[in-house]
């Protein structure tokens, strides 16, 4: 998996993910990237999932873990551009209600201010 971080309006960190978030290939990398941002005091994080091709239960677990660690530090973690199959995987485990999901980056970034 490839990750890149850019800063959006209001200091929101937009994390672009590309590839697979699966066991042994991206799951730990996601956690490390988020932890690094949190350690740097960057607590408003938007994960752009548009180019994520596959996710498995380990990847889902890491997403949940990241959500918890960001929230526990007083931050917010939201998702952008969920591919349909990842949406399905989050829906069947009722996790879709946990995450704020956006289709527009502008809207998503603006939502952190509210």
């Amino acid at each position: 998996m490839k990750t890149s971080v850019r800063e959006g309006q209001g200091g929101v960190q937009v994390l672009d993910l590309k590839g697979k978030i699966t066991i042994g290939a991206g799951d730990v990398q996601l956690r490390e990237t988020i932890n690094k941002l949190v350690e740097e005091g960057k607590k408003n994080i938007l994960i752009n999932m548009q180019d994520v091709t596959t996710i498995d239960s380990s990847g889902i677990g890491e997403l949940v873990g990241c959500y918890t660690s960001v929230t526990n530090k007083g931050g917010k973690l939201k998702l952008l551009h969920l591919p349909p199959k990842i949406n399905d995987v989050l829906t069947v485990t009722q996790l879709i209600t946990v995450f704020d999901v956006y289709e527009s980056e502008q809207e998503a970034v603006a939502s952190f201010a509210s």
Binding site: I23, G24, S57, G61, V64, G65, V89
Partner: protein
């Protein structure tokens, strides 16, 4: 076939399963979920069954008879009691970082069965009716 306990081998097994499914008229959707269930059962065998011990093997059989896909996976670990696996939908488990793999297998396949293997380890059997099965029932309901 017999695989070493490495996550990289999941990709190879998925590729072979894809080849097995090639001759059958199934939707991309069905194919995707079968391969995800296969990924989950193999990851479970490597991570939990064999505890990542590369000296231990994961034994995999895949076959299509008629329209029924059967996958059998056996690890060389201590085995587990499937009735004691936490329900990932329970509110107290919602934020756990693991424990969803078996749930996904059960969601995406028609049948998932567990048994302790005779020579040790755990055997998991996955079945999918390629002609419809669960999807057909859900659409008809």
């Amino acid at each position: 076939m017999s695989l070493s306990s490495r996550f990289e081998n999941i990709e190879m097994a998925q590729h072979l399963c894809g080849k097995l499914l090639d001759g059958h008229e199934i939707s991309d959707e069905t194919r995707h979920w079968i391969l995800m269930a296969l990924r989950e059962v193999l990851a479970n065998a490597i991570k939990h069954g064999n505890a990542g011990d590369r000296a231990k093997r994961v034994h995999l059989e895949m076959d299509v008879q008629g329209e029924i896909l059967r996958i059998r996976v056996r690890d060389e670990g201590a085995g587990f009691d499937p009735d004691k696996v936490d329900d990932p939908l329970a509110p107290e488990n919602r934020f756990k970082t693991s424990g969803r793999g078996i749930f996904y297998m059960k969601t995406f396949m028609d049948e998932v069965r567990f048994q302790k293997a005779e020579g040790g380890g755990m055997e998991i059997f996955l079945t999918k009716n390629l002609a419809g099965g669960k999807e057909k029932e859900e659409k008809g309901s």
